[in-house]
């Protein structure tokens, strides 16, 4: 009795180009050969190279940067000679205290919740793949898809700081400058975006192929 198994590109000695989608024949022994897509010139890989190791490295780097991003001030506001520094969280509290709820919620989600959820989800996906988990691969792929799509919106706080710095530049009267936390936070956003790009969701499905 034969069981109908879905056929993957790897199982058929094929590889799909990650840029242009062309399906190219890749012999099984072509392990260390540098194969290039004949159509668009991108390097072909069956799976993203060293996906787990690289994603772990980026996730750990982002976790470390997440601390200064939240502890150090992202803006320094000087009005009439006195300077007040604000972190991401104290900025949110300021907005709430002044009744600007929608903006407070936006910044809270985009700057605090989204980066944290991204890191938690990526760590979960990395460990589930390492454990060759077969639990709900469809839902785990969906989780990955959301993580990848939502990450860019964390940049909103960096842009708010950019605009505040540009507008509130009135010399003695009032000046806003970016603090060191802004650099760390920008780092968190960029590194988590790279981490999501480095993770290969096909690894989730590889565990399904090898069941008895």
């Amino acid at each position: 009795m034969t069981r109908q198994l879905p056929l993957t590109a790897v199982a058929a000695s094929l590889v799909g180009c990650h840029i242009c989608g062309l399906v190219v024949h890749m012999p099984r022994d072509a392990h260390r050969v540098h194969l290039v897509c004949p159509r668009c010139g991108a390097t072909l890989h069956r799976r993203k190279p060293d996906s787990l190791g690289r994603t772990w490295a980026l996730v750990i780097a982002a976790c470390l940067l997440y601390i200064p991003a939240n502890v150090l001030p992202i803006t320094l506001t000087t009005t009439f000679g006195s300077t007040q520094s604000d972190t991401i969280l104290s900025g949110v509290v300021y907005l709430m205290a002044h009744g600007m709820w929608p903006v407070a919620l936006l910044i809270f989600f985009a700057s605090i919740i989204v980066p944290m959820m991204k890191l938690v989800i990526l760590i979960y996906l990395l460990t589930s793949v390492a454990r060759k988990s077969q639990w709900r691969p469809g839902d785990r792929t969906r989780l990955y898809r959301i993580t990848e799509a939502v990450g860019r919106w964390s940049m909103v706080d960096i842009y708010v700081v950019t605009i505040l710095v540009a507008l509130v530049n009135l010399g003695e009267l009032a000046t806003i400058k970016a603090g060191p936390g802004a650099i760390a936070f920008g780092g968190v956003v960029v590194i988590t975006m790279f981490a999501a790009m480095t993770f290969d969701p096909r690894l989730i499905w590889d565990a399904m192929e090898n069941r008895e």
Partner: protein
């Protein structure tokens, strides 16, 4: 050796046979549900229109002040690049680079790259190095973040509105329109119409 009739799902690697779809519909992976490709209506013409419109709006958006800030009689005007210059001047080079790349350089590179690819194709010609250049356009796509910048503008306007009066400039309207046009260009582009024109060694 290549296999034209097949596509491998980019999220789970399952092989699918490519078939003609009714216009406006999408083919998704039978196992993980990822969208494999979409059949777009009149993709080349629509995308090219949006790209040319986008380039005109881009020039306007970057040429005029986009917000004015009025506080105790002092008026401060800014363009898109004012904040970037101030970051750079205060030694925050990485931050300046991040903002200028994601809001100005990469969106412009994407529009120019699409124009370079699509205009000759419209005129039945194949541009030089089509494959590599379209690959570049596709890989910078996630890093253009103008729509996020727009949200940032709205958030800062709300935040500053209590301290002072904020007056939107001409470029603000151009910028808002630009975001819609860029989204429309992305929605109408079917990358397959470009890839199938790339000449491959036999």
């Amino acid at each position: 050796m290549t296999t034209d009739a097949l596509i491998a799902c980019h999220e789970c690697d399952l092989l699918h046979r490519i078939s003609e779809l009714p216009v406006g519909s999408a083919a998704s992976c039978s196992r993980c549900g990822a969208v494999l490709y979409r059949q777009k209506r009149n993709s080349l013409d629509r995308t090219l229109t949006m790209v040319i419109t986008g380039l005109i709006l881009f020039v306007i958006a970057n040429s005029y002040p986009f917000l004015s800030f009025k506080m105790e009689g002092i008026v401060q005007e800014t363009t898109l690049l004012t904040g970037v210059r101030l970051f750079y001047d205060s030694g925050m080079h990485a931050l300046a680079l991040l903002v200028v790349l994601t809001t100005v350089v990469l969106p412009l590179a994407e529009l120019l790259g699409l124009l370079y690819v699509l205009l000759p194709l419209k005129l039945e010609r194949v541009p030089w190095k089509l494959g590599s250049i379209f690959r570049f356009v596709r890989s910078i796509e996630p890093w253009g973040m103008m729509e996020v910048f727009m949200l940032g503008i709205l958030a800062s306007v709300v935040k500053l509105a209590q301290m002072a009066s904020i007056i939107p400039g001409i470029s603000m309207y151009a910028f808002a329109a630009l975001i819609v046009v860029i989204a429309a260009a992305a929605a109408s582009l079917d990358p397959r119409i470009v890839w199938e024109r790339v000449e491959m060694p036999p």
